[in-house]
């Protein structure tokens, strides 16, 4: 039975939930395929996550390995293949709670960086799981700055082998997933030395554990790096190498090769490497970042119409907490952001696909723009969505703090996305470097990529809005965002040039501008996200109420961004104080409008109760019953020896030594 406080919210939906779900999935057919995958996974008890919040790190790892192995069987049973339409839904259906994710990265590295011969040898072994792979790049003392890696691979002409070493403790490989306990092989990134000369970082396939008994290979020390904020199911590992010898053929040699005599040969373009990073950054957005925010919104919004607290009107029943303006102001902008970034992700995917086609034609022109956009949006979206999950958690009060709400684990997991695959500040600075470069080029009349052509126009106008309704016009707010992005980029470019002209060295000048460069990069991405959302809405069908509600969300996303960052818009007077008051008024009005559709808007994300794994967010809204029943299953409700050992002697005053 559905809690009436929740079911009443569904009866007044202004749009078709099913149609919106199909829009999010891409088509009704995709929705059907996704649901079939979810159904198959969730009906299989091996994939259950029910006990997850009670398990130790060891138990989580054990379960993830079991699931990974079972998944092979499941796929065969169901006829799912790696190239089939179901494949992309499997990971989401498992909520990522499965081992051997790095095995995929291992395979992709070989496919991208290996020669045809290497691909022919290793990929079938990996596909058949005759080995388990990992990917060993990051070191204890080195992350982002690849040139700083300290692991060495010295070529020994006599034996035709590379000798691998992690010469210092800071050179130890640290973090690679699946490496702490599972992997038999890994791709090690090391400084290549031939005849005493260093050729920089190269990838090498290294066996680390016996295929017979899983014991560590000679010269290899490896293990698990211990507890983390989340990812208990992954055996992130460390790896020490001491004179580990591997055959010459194990250096991945699509782009670089060491010939038997030690001659170093570089072939082909390495530009494709950047493309790999771009691929990873774009691909993580959907599963690792948007899904957790959508889940958090679902949980918090459903809970907020079931939870009643205090009276809004004297004499009435306690109010649903979502009826408080402050609660709306916390949750609804997160909901709008989830939709906004869903469409940003579509935009990036499309750009990426176009880039991929060009690259296959050996045209690398799109790479800088793709790199800048994927870096900037990786940072902006992970940061925004992480903050959003945090807000959802806190908005549920004490119950949000219980692991059983599902929100703490969503938060501790999404937080990692701000750190991995490029630390966010560094990524934003890469975007900023691109912006400054394009800004200079554009102002010099040179052609620049499409996403930054707007930087060419010098605009000193004022926002034309005359009343609060004008701020519901996408042209008005998109223009305002554009203006801010241009202003921040141009003012920082000017500061940079001033510093350099005043004699400050280039690198020092850059460092002194980085705080503002980060702001410029964020403003650029925010502008693109708003513009893209508005353009997407424009193209939607008007029927079934979809376009109307999406328009409201787009407006909210845009106005929330202005309301939360008024200084950027007020600074040079583009927006006046009176206009800012209009923004505030429109923004607060929108909250009340969207509040009416809040539950249908999260229902459209179409998460099952099992995938939410939350006592607060279930479809039927029976929150308190579920919390109570679930808590009783906690291992902390089994007998504890503490009573006999400590409490009884204390209470009976028989503590021997007291």
């Amino acid at each position: 039975s559905v809690n009436p406080d929740l079911s009443s919210e569904r009866q007044t939906a202004s749009f078709s939930v099913e149609k919106l779900t199909a829009l999010l999935d891409g088509s009704a057919e995709q929705t059907r395929i996704r649901r079939a995958v979810v159904e198959a996974i969730e009906s299989d008890p091996v994939f259950s996550r029910e006990n997850q919040y009670f398990q130790t790190q060891n138990e989580r790892y054990e379960a993830a390995v079991r699931k990974a192995v079972h998944l092979q069987k499941k796929m065969r049973e169901m006829g799912w293949t790696e190239n089939g339409p179901e494949y992309k839904y499997i990971y989401r259906a498992l909520s990522g709670d499965v081992a051997f994710l790095l095995h995929r990265v291992f395979m992709r590295s070989i496919s991208v960086l290996g020669s045809d011969k290497q691909i022919a040898k290793w990929i079938p072994l990996a596909t058949q799981h005759k080995l388990i792979g990992s990917y060993a790049q990051t070191e204890l003392g080195h992350g982002t700055y690849l040139q700083g890696l300290e692991t060495t691979a010295v070529f020994d002409t006599a034996t035709q082998e590379f000798i691998l070493n992690t010469p210092k403790i800071s050179a130890m490989k640290w973090w690679p997933g699946d490496m702490g306990r599972s992997a038999t092989h890994t791709v090690v990134f090391a400084q290549l030395y031939v005849h005493g000369k260093c050729y920089g970082i190269h990838p090498f396939i290294v066996q680390i554990r016996s295929l017979q008994d899983h014991s560590l290979c000679p010269g290899v020390t490896a293990g698990d790096i211990g507890p983390k904020m989340n990812f208990e199911h992954i055996d992130n590992g460390y790896l020490l190498l001491k004179n580990v010898r591997i055959p010459r053929e194990n250096m991945l040699s699509k782009f670089c090769e060491v010939r038997p005599d030690g001659t170093y040969v570089r072939q082909g373009s390495q530009k494709i490497n950047y493309f790999t990073m771009t691929t990873v950054r774009i691909s993580l957005i959907s599963d690792e970042v948007l899904t957790p925010l959508m889940k958090a919104c679902t949980i918090a919004i459903r809970y907020s119409v079931v939870r009643r607290q205090s009276k809004l009107k004297p004499g009435e029943q306690e109010a649903k907490i979502l009826d408080y303006q402050t609660q709306q102001e916390k949750l609804l902008p997160q909901l709008a952001a989830a939709y906004a970034f869903h469409f940003t992700n579509d935009y990036l995917q499309e750009l990426f696909n176009r880039g991929y086609r060009e690259i296959q034609r050996k045209n690398f022109d799109m790479l800088p723009e793709l790199h800048a956009l994927s870096s900037g949006f990786k940072a902006v979206i992970t940061q925004h969505c992480t903050a959003g999950v945090d807000i959802c958690l806190r908005a549920c009060g004490g119950h949000g703090y219980s692991l059983l709400s599902g929100l703490p684990s969503l938060y501790t997991k999404i937080l990692a996305s701000c750190i991995y695959e490029g630390e966010n500040t560094i990524l934003l600075l890469q975007t900023a470097r691109f912006l400054i470069k394009c800004f200079m080029a554009a102002r010099a009349g040179q052609p620049v990529p499409p996403s930054v052509t707007y930087l060419a126009a010098v605009k000193h106008g004022k926002c034309p809005a005359k009343n609060k309704l004008d701020f519901l016009s996408p042209d008005i707010y998109t223009e305002a965002y554009q203006h801010v992005a241009v202003r921040l980029t141009s003012s920082t470019a000017a500061k940079l040039q001033d510093l350099i002209q005043s004699g400050v060295k280039k690198h020092d000048a850059w460092n002194q501008c980085t705080v503002q460069l980060v702001q410029a990069a964020k403003a650029h991405c925010h502008y693109i996200a708003v513009k893209n959302f508005a353009e997407t809405v424009e193209k939607l069908e008007t029927k079934a109420g979809i376009q109307k509600i999406m328009k409201h969300l787009c407006d909210l996303f845009a106005l929330h961004g202005i309301f939360s960052n008024t200084g950027a818009f007020l600074h040079d007077g583009y927006t006046s104080a009176a206009q800012m008051d209009m923004v505030t008024a429109s923004y607060l009005d929108l909250l009340a409008v969207i509040r009416k559709d809040a539950v249908p808007l999260v229902d459209a994300f179409d998460f099952t109760d099992k995938s939410l794994n939350s006592a607060l967010g279930s479809y039927n809204g029976q929150v308190y019953q579920r919390l109570y029943e679930w808590a009783q299953k906690s291992p902390t409700n089994q007998m504890s020896p503490a009573y006999e050992r400590y409490l009884k002697p204390l209470l009976h005053n028989t503590l021997s030594k007291l």
Copy 2:
């Protein structure tokens, strides 16, 4: 041996670290006492936290009970008493990792709410631990709004007993610490019914477990609510009561009593109850909020001078990450905030002491101001410090995400402070209600409490700053903060009045202004914090470099607040865009200045390595060695059955059913 990258930072301190520590402690004598307590606790292996990050919830609980029992012995040994000067340092020395904290709340409730007779009966029993107490207020369905509690206590004249019930699942007591597994007694808050009439919420002492064998008493169902984001060591519990009978004498009756014939008598003033909440909110700031932020700053700043990443200047060694402006911009404002709020806490303590003296003289005049300030600052400080710890965690990249950094547990623990003892948004709205009331009174020429007299003045001036150095003048920035606080309060008061005059009902109008009321309350607290910091600096001794460095931190705290919230200052033109650029310039300059003293500034917090419990933050900066050695002790580095069960059959292609 100290890492040279860390020791070099200490050689150039511009001030005496020891003198600053004494200033933070209150005096050199206090520092001495604190260190003695820390030394006694940390040298005792029972109090060790070394394994904490590897332990399950059960093990953490077990250890906390063991420590609580051992602490009794320790205090006796050391001659520490509850009224002695050492007492307040014990909890900090234990990092709060101890059971029976609610036992204290149980005792305080009886002292404050009980009659002399009740105090005489229960306090000695509790002091001698002949019982273990808890405090059962919050219910599964009810938190902040006490009037909504559903537990009932019906007086039965025939037996002279109260009959207690939790009539619905939402009425179940939920969250009380020490109740899930330890407590024998608790103070239950319930709706009092006599002869069918409800008299509202009252406190009752209820025994829940046998003093003989710890079994649950008849009619009592209780247990542990399961895993939370932190506080694994605390057995937060649930409690169901079914016709539980307690004697009439168990209703705490200092203020209200039910006579044998059922007559309800109210006596004395209940205003003191508000004072109790004030006490708790102020007392948690130091141990639960400032200490975690100070620890996080210590860890992140020490790590940031040891970690080197990328090159700042071509051809040079990789740079310390604290030399990057973006890293300074993350960490140094948090450091400044830690100092700022330390002094705010002093201010609140002093105000509180004054209030306490007045209340003892039956003068309750200070209560509204104290309530408003303690509520507002509880919210502002917990929110600011929680965000600060989060920033410190992320600023340490991947290693910050490892539990061994100490940062994740600091974050997950401090986060709870935003929720408990009054949800922050609700608290800010209480402050706002006080502000609006005082604003109306002040504008009507009536007297208002000292902290809000500034609201009386109508100011339409402009910020007089002429260059960036002017923004290092406390008068300039304090005035700017004051201006914003007045503007936000007055404009929201005006909106409220406009709505009411236009026919909107009072409660609806209030709800429609709450987002802006929260902003006003925050601005008020921020203004007081800045003003208080500036006034504190003014009074400091100039010797040993203390005043100078504190002045820098005060400036940074103030300018960071403006830089992060430029819209509020630009809105009505009080600050011009040109002046805002000066703020930015001064702010960025300050980062480089304070960066030089960053390590001495965290050294002055005087945390021992054991209290930090962090692989990144140790005094000697041997980060990588410590991480590696510690990780090896993780239970995940023991044999896992996963290999035999799953990996071997997979690798050997003998998975029976594949």
